[in-house]
Subunit: 232 residues, 2 copies
Amino acid sequence: MSAGSILSALEDVQIAPRRSLAEEAADKLREAILLEHLAPGTPVPERELSEAMGISRTPLKDALRLLEMEGLIDYGPTRRPRVANPSLATLRDNITVLGALEALAGELACAVATATELADIAARARRMETDGGDALAFFHQDMNFHGAIVAAARNAPLADTHRQYNARLWRARFLSSRQIDRRENTLAEHDRIVTALMARDGVATANAMRAHLRSTIENIARVHADGRGQGG
Amino acid sequence: MSAGSILSALEDVQIAPRRSLAEEAADKLREAILLEHLAPGTPVPERELSEAMGISRTPLKDALRLLEMEGLIDYGPTRRPRVANPSLATLRDNITVLGALEALAGELACAVATATELADIAARARRMETDGGDALAFFHQDMNFHGAIVAAARNAPLADTHRQYNARLWRARFLSSRQIDRRENTLAEHDRIVTALMARDGVATANAMRAHLRSTIENIARVHADGRGQGG
DNA sequence: CGTTTGAATTTGGTATGCCAAATACCATTG
DNA sequence: CAATGGTATTTGGCATACCAAATTCAAACG
């Protein structure tokens, strides 16, 4: 029995790299922030939190730095971590950039995506129409639709930056997506995007993605006017 | 003498926040990387380096994380920091995104920049024509030209992300800009950008910026073919 | 000589202690 | 009552020690 066949006899020989405590803490915190168990603007007391999590301050600081990078945590003038609490203007600025990133992704996907990938994207849009589910499920499908386009663009820095922006905007996008009267518009806009993608028309796709994100901006502004105080 | 006039009698009462050791170390490392005193691919030994810098490992780790965020340092599979050594394909991907960011900046600047800001940008382009200086001086003016457009866009997340991409691409952009035969093209492309900006034509400005960055991609590829081994 | 194994050394993640800066609280003063 | 000053407490940055994982090096084996 040679080395080759030992390997082929085993399905999966890779040991996953051990996740650091910082990474695990960041995951926990990310979830708490995105579900608003940690409300926007909340100070994050390092010692208290590290004790509650059963880890030392060092990996917690690392975790907070990771989340700072994603825009979920910010540091005040005295360097104390707080849960980010973006103003409407900041959200608008972020979504404007996100729109440009997604427009670029759409354009690149027209050039480099496989037919299978495009078909998958179209199927996602269709599934949202026929089986949207509740608000959270619909939102997840929405985010996966966008994510599939960005992945089909095959540009790693773009995907990374998009991920960062999406994390930062996740909450606001969810609140926007949750509006029942919003769903029809979303689906229509997705159709426009898919039509342009299937035609591999980069310009039309980019424009459709920008328009989609522009209406997201408008809807987030509406949600802001309805319910949440202005952030710091 | 009232409190108001104590403040007005003093020109500058703000005490600058103390810079952390991590920030200072990051600056030093950034410079060493960008000037290739630390060559691409070089392992960064934490203990040795912290000792050489006269600080402990803690702020050095923080500094390295900052530089990771900027793409100047990457962490290998064993979590050891190395100086990033981007492949041509990675550089191309990064510049593609940078092009989209700068296109957005141009478009936004057309909408929101003051006449003074636009005049300043035009003056910068002119100064590069009449007083370009040596390769490094010309390059600095070039980067300041681009930076002024991004600043005039008044979108903080865009400016942040642009800064990150610029840091990551600084070296490659410098090597490209250094090509003597490149200068004429650069100046012509800047002219096109300025013309579109002064006309506040967002679409034309965005297109001119994209075209400019596309020729940067081509030039970087040429430099790569000429001289540097392929990165990891 | 090439390969394997085991021990020594190096290195990254983490815990913890210390010091300086920031904040909170209380008493005093006008 | 509001403002000010002083003290106690909390908090962030940093240094250092420790442990486990990774790497290096030397010896043994085929």
